[in-house]
């Protein structure tokens, strides 16, 4: 038995033998890699472990009991909803308990107040369909239609639809969370009654604590239920058509319409996005990386490369697309009006409309994040930033320049400066920098690039969301704050004094840099002699680090 016998028995009493297992075959199925988001990189290889046991609770009460048992026996645990978010949502310690939340799949739609209460196991496409059939909609996050609604909303929660719908923390209403010690935290209106309808509660807004900028990656408890605001869409059905892989939603053209425009320059591209926001039209306004278009056109991986390798740095630099989704929220006339305004904007800026299919392949109901792995087999977004639209055009080229140094092993992307789009009617601009590689190659360069982007952001004073647990806290904390790493530590210690919840997050990336010899040359920042963990975590991590070093030595011997 991999976890403490007494703890296992107690867990079995909570969920029953059918929903708990420490069988090696069952645990192997929960391995983080070898592939997936950020998988195949050093962090995944060094920091993730196969769970010691897996438990599948059905109710919040069961989650509470499980967490309390973990605290009683010092069993580290990690919440896991779909497992899509790569190594950071998997076990980081030996003999850790993985709490698989898929059975928490309750769903309740409040028809009167237009919100839905979802469990951790509910995924976006399920939720979106429930909304669409009622004439409403939500954002399907960039993480994909298969992402857990809750996990995505407490981590990211945005997509091109955020142009109008807005940022995730505005849509998180009453929320129920099991704290790392097993106590219940009810947030928003739920704190004072049994009504989920409102996000603000008494006292400080704990949604900030829950998700910060991009979440705490499972180290601060388990969200078991969340009420999410649903926004009005339009009444006509979007009809699915085709046989997979060529499926799409047929759009009722007088109510929903995508239009692509080719702009004459980067400046006009950004200006168009601003103007569209200023006019308060459209449901989505986005630039699309050219390689996404190649993915969409290609029938297979090999065809993608046929298409993509015909591109050059010049064609990429001169490709300025603005993709606009028009929605007649209130009427056909409204869409007509929006289209006229859009045409005026585009005429003024020299945007040329391109024939666009009357269908939606991605974003309204389906978000094809999985397609990101088609080209190379390995992918991660090294940075995503919510700032201004203009900032995206400054940040992107600097990032692209740094990327050149690491290509290969990174995919030859001809200097593509990433994806950017309008958020909240142009008041904010979103940019995301995606990288691709083949995990069978030497990935040291990818590990280095990942960390170097953080230094690049610091040096150029760029804002970034991939701070916190995503990068070494002792690198970014003093630079963005100047002491936010200390605050993170205080919060962690306050809510999880034993550090049973997904240790050593939020200091896991620091731990990775210490353990991985190939990262040492990049370590230019100060760290304390010992990381500030409780004693039992310190001891276990030290033992695991020693085992890792011994493994490296024996690998090196074998190679010799």
């Amino acid at each position: 038995m991999a976890i403490v016998k007494e703890a296992y028995k107690a867990l079995e009493d909570v969920v029953g033998a059918a929903y708990l297992s420490d069988d090696p075959v069952i645990c192997e199925g929960y391995r983080s890699g070898p592939a997936g988001y950020e998988a195949g990189l050093g962090y995944e290889r060094v920091m993730t472990k196969i769970p010691g046991a897996v438990v599948m609770p059905k109710t919040t009460e069961e989650v509470q009991k499980i967490v309390k048992i973990c605290n009683r026996y010092c069993v580290p645990y990690v919440p896991y909803s779909t497992g899509f978010y790569g190594p950071r949502s998997h076990c980081h310690m030996e003999n850790e308990l993985l709490v698989d939340l898929k059975r928490l799949n309750d769903f309740e739609f409040d028809e009167k107040h237009w919100y839905a209460v979802v469990g951790s196991g509910v995924v976006y496409s399920q939720f979106q369909e429930e909304c669409l059939r009622r004439g409403g909609y939500v954002v399907i996050g960039g993480g994909g239609a298969q992402a857990s609604v809750i996990a995505n909303l407490i981590g990211d929660g945005w997509s091109p639809l955020s142009h109008r719908i807005g940022l995730p923390h505005r849509r998180i209403l009453g929320t129920e969370m099991v704290l790392p010690d097993g106590e219940i935290l009810r947030m928003g209106s739920l704190a004072v009654g049994d009504d989920w309808f409102w996000g603000d509660g008494i006292g400080p807004d704990l949604r900030g604590l829950l998700r910060g900028y991009t979440g705490l990656r499972g180290c601060l408890g388990i969200v078991t239920k969340m009420a999410v605001k649903v926004l009005p869409f339009q009444p006509e059905r979007l009809q699915p058509k085709g046989i997979s892989p060529n499926t799409a939603l047929a759009l009722p053209e007088k109510r929903v319409k995508w239009i692509n425009y080719i702009m004459p320059s980067k400046e006009t591209q950004v200006k168009a996005m601003y103007e569209i926001g200023k006019a308060e039209i459209a449901g989505a306004v986005t630039k699309v990386p050219l390689f996404w278009r190649a993915i969409a056109k290609a029938e297979c991986k090999e065809e993608f490369w046929d298409i993509w390798l015909k591109e050059t740095p010049e064609t990429i630099a001169n490709f300025h697309i603005v993709r606009v989704l028009l929605i007649g929220f209130t009427s056909e006339e409204q869409l007509e009006y929006d289209e006229n305004v859009l045409n005026d904007i585009m005429m003024e800026l020299g945007g040329q409309p391109r024939p666009t299919k009357p269908s939606d392949e991605s974003w309204i109901k389906n978000a094809d994040s999985a397609g990101m792995w088609l080209m190379c087999g390995s992918y991660v977004s090294v940075d995503y930033v919510i700032e201004t639209l203009k900032q995206a055009t400054e940040h992107g080229p600097v990032y692209a320049e740094l990327k050149k140094k690491y290509t290969p092993p990174l995919m030859p992307d001809h200097g593509d400066p990433g994806w950017f789009q309008s958020f909240e009617l142009g008041y904010q601009g979103y940019s995301e920098f995606l990288i691709y590689w083949d995990q069978d190659e030497d990935t040291t360069g990818v590990d280095h690039f990942y960390l170097e982007t953080s230094k690049m952001n610091i040096n150029h004073r760029f804002y970034t969301s991939l701070i916190g647990p995503h990068q070494p806290m002792y690198l970014t904390g003093p630079k963005y704050g100047p002491n936010y790493h200390e605050w993170m530590l205080k919060i962690k210690n306050e809510f999880d004094p034993l550090w049973t919840c997904h240790p050593p997050v939020p200091f896991a990336h620091d731990e990775f840099v210490e353990r991985a010899p190939w990262m040492h040359e990049l370590k230019t920042w100060e760290t304390p002699k010992e990381f500030p963990y409780p004693q039992w975590v310190k001891e276990r991590l030290a033992a695991e680090a020693a085992t890792f070093r011994a493994g490296l030595k024996s690998e090196a011997k074998v190679k010799k």
Binding site: P24, T247, K301, D368, W373, G377
Partner: protein, 431 residues
């Protein structure tokens, strides 16, 4: 750039090392394709992972387990055998994955079973019994070989020699005579002369499905030779599993292309659709029911023709020469629907999960024999969907589906009538 030689032989699990190691846990194998996602109900398409919620029972878990098997990190245990065999290999995971990625999930799962057999751990005891039956009596049930043609009634005309050969299959020959009889009568009604195999043996579906490839290959050779000896140009099947065996698995077992077979393989649904279009099938008798159609996996997402391939995998995992992946797009989706919709009186209503998103009945490819609770729970789950859409009749085009559904209906006291496609079509024909 170094390259690796690779082919599609399921006899070597390491051929699928790349595919298994590139699973990203998007669970496209598990969920109904998101464009078609019907909401929180009926949102999955993996019978195995619905039967057991642990990730190891979904293809995304199995790909990790398969990788560990190749690397020698796991030993065969009862749990591992259950993970590998409690699965109807319905192909939902394969088409789901190929929505976005080019990974051979279905073949990886087959290769895991072949390895189980090679390692002496598989198949399951129930499968071994079937293999013994086939060896002794040439049918899966162990029934007397001489009884194989007992289904034939006097009113059925069978030709001595004809272009069309009806391969009846074990189930219709022994336990579901009504399907064989209805099929034969439809052929008669359309004035299509047909013959039977001079000596029909099992198609080998269970053997192939559980990884006993040597035994399945022998049957494939024998059956193909026998059809060749008859001079038939078309082999017609009323069984979906049999159709997949003849069209896909026999070529795969013999390392030839479907196009290289010296005859064409058609399913009754295909034949009926074509006869309808040509005017030889005239469904004029009203069948006044509200009915729905269940896509049997072996004539839908598993039915793309086979083409052998071997080559090299190189930079960024690309393969050369170009591989045309089987994505389940060439299944018989439209044909049965055309025929059903042409029957007067029929009120046809689609299942919530249809075509490549259909939820398998859970019986096929050795599952019902070894894991009856999986087969039963899958059928009951699918029947909930039938209830949801208010259909009185559930039609499928495979005796395995029919029997599994019928048993579930009986156990649940459900009022749904379960029919085979052949029975429905026959009911619409004037005597």
């Amino acid at each position: 750039m170094p390259t690796t030689k690779v082919n599609l032989e399921t006899t070597d699990l390491s051929n699928y090392r790349y595919d298994m190691s590139r699973c990203i846990k998007c669970k496209g194998c598990y969920w109904v394709e998101h464009t078609y996602m019907p909401g929180v109900k009926f949102s999955t398409r993996c019978p195995s992972n619905v039967w057991n919620d642990f990730d190891s029972y979904g293809a995304f878990g199995k790909m990790r387990i398969g990788t560990a098997l190749v690397e020698g990190k796991l030993d065969w245990t009862p749990t591992l055998l259950e993970v590998v065999y409690a699965d109807p290999l319905c192909g939902a995971c394969d088409v789901g994955c190929k929505r976005n990625l080019d990974l051979e999930i279905g073949l990886s799962l087959e290769a895991m079973r072949v390895k189980a057999v090679k390692d002496g751990a598989g198949p399951m005891p129930a499968h071994k019994k079937i293999a013994e039956n086939i060896a002794a009596t040439h049918n899966v049930f162990g029934s007397a070989h001489n009884d194989r043609k007992k289904w034939l009634t006097k009113d059925i005309q069978v030709a001595e020699k004809a272009d069309v050969l009806y391969f009846v299959g074990c189930t219709a020959s022994y336990t579901n005579n009504e399907i064989a009889q209805a099929t034969a009568k439809i052929l008669n009604a359309t004035k299509t002369p047909f013959m039977l195999m001079p000596d029909e043996w099992c198609c080998g579906n269970t053997l192939q499905s559980v990884g006993m490839l040597d035994e399945a290959r022998e049957l494939a050779k024998r059956n193909i030779e026998m059809v060749k000896s008859t001079g038939a140009k078309t082999v017609l099947l009323s069984c979906a599993e049999g159709y997949r065996m003849w069209k896909v698995e026999y070529p795969k077992l013999l390392n030839i292309a479907t196009a290289d077979l010296p005859f064409t393989v058609v399913h009754l649904t295909e034949f009926a659709d074509s006869a309808l279009k040509q005017g030889s099938l005239r469904p004029t008798k009203p069948v006044n029911v509200r009915l729905t159609y269940h896509d049997s996996c072996s004539i839908s997402r598993l039915a793309d023709p086979w083409t052998p391939w071997s080559g090299e995998r190189g930079w960024m995992g690309t393969v050369s020469p170009r591989l045309k992946r089987r994505r389940g797009t060439q299944g018989l989706y439209g044909q049965p629907r055309n025929v059903i919709s042409s029957i007067p009186g029929v009120e046809f209503v689609e299942m919530i999960r249809a075509r490549e998103n259909a939820f398998c009945c859970g019986a096929g490819r050795g599952t019902k024999e070894a894991f009856p609770t999986l087969a039963s729970s899958s059928a009951k789950h699918r029947l909930e969907e039938v209830k949801e859409i208010g259909a009185e009749v559930l039609v499928s085009a495979c005796p395995w589906c029919k029997n599994n559904f019928a048993q579930a209906v009986k156990e649940d006291g459900n009022h749904v009538k379960v029919m085979d496609f052949s029975e429905l079509v026959l009911a619409s024909l004037d005597a």
